[in-house]
Symmetry: C2
Subunit: 152 residues, 2 copies
DNA sequence: TTCAAGTCTGCCACCATTGGAGGGTCAAGT
DNA sequence: ACTTGACCCTCCAATGGTGGCAGACTTGAA
């Protein structure tokens, strides 16, 4: 027992293949700030500490951080990631449950894309008709000001 | 003098074509909350008040709110709208200045769309390969967990 | 011993919007 | 007059994900 306590020295931990927060961050691609944040919001379980109160990460923790990082890169919200992590750790999950989360996110992404595309279409139309010169006449401002085609 | 002071009674104001915040909100499509907010951040100049401290809006104010609403609908950030409003009110502006703001926003939108589209592509690939049945085997989780095609 | 780099906690800022609490006001109806 | 309900007021908090800073401590190496 005493010997396992001595384990929690920073240098010993590193020697044994454990990582401090900086190394865990680098290894996972998550910023140090966000590593702490994910722990604070319970996405990552509370990790061990050295005697000096430094966080100590296992390769397993790093793996989880990589999982989170990849999910964020795919645009999953933290609440989705929470669900995905639970499914990941649950060996008797159904792939249907995972697909449902991914599918909902996919729909949300497509909705947002469509929304932005309609903005782009409107803006392109306006900027196309705008001379972009010294003169003040500007269809963009006219549209914003509510000037709906005077001819109509 | 005394007569003009009497102007700031709620009923009088309405009678004279002015609007209280609720009517201004409805007329512009901006929520009451946000009308106050836009004033607080200086997007809309401070409006007059009745003796009871109710805000009083002119049709001109409503027009500005409509401008803001339309710009938000097109995805412009508040700081952009601030610039656009200034250009709108400056009769000697150049259309080039307006076009520059719109163009930058357009590029930003297109950048975000591309980013999300790459997320969609990745997710579609994963969900396409996921059975979505009772079994636990799931390419989506495998990807998140970092399983980069074992064969490679 | 000293110094830089790393870590700790905690708080603030961003962006746009919504919600609530706790109170005042207005215009009806009784 | 009095009540009621729909307004309005101000102030504060929270959202989500991240960055930044301050003040204090630890580490490891020169």
């Amino acid at each position: 027992m005493g010997k396992t306590d001595a384990f929690l020295e920073h240098a010993d931990a590193i020697e044994r293949g454990l990582l401090d927060i900086g190394r865990a961050a680098k290894a996972s691609g998550v910023s140090v700030k966000m590593v702490r944040h994910y722990e604070a919001i319970g996405l990552l379980k509370k990790v061990a500490r050295t005697y000096a109160n430094y966080r100590v990460y296992t390769m397993n923790d790093v793996h989880t951080l990589q999982f989170i990082k990849r999910a964020r890169t795919l645009g999953f919200a933290v609440k989705d990631i929470r669900a995905l992590l639970a499914l990941w750790q649950n060996k008797s999950r159904s792939s249907a449950a995972v697909k449902k989360v991914a599918g909902a996110h996919l729909e949300e992404l497509e909705r947002k894309i469509a929304e932005m595309q309609s903005m782009v279409a409107a803006l392109q139309h306006l900027t196309h008709n705008c001379q972009g010169d010294q003169r003040p006449d500007c269809p963009i401002l006219e549209d914003l000001a509510g000037a709906r085609k005077p001819g109509a």
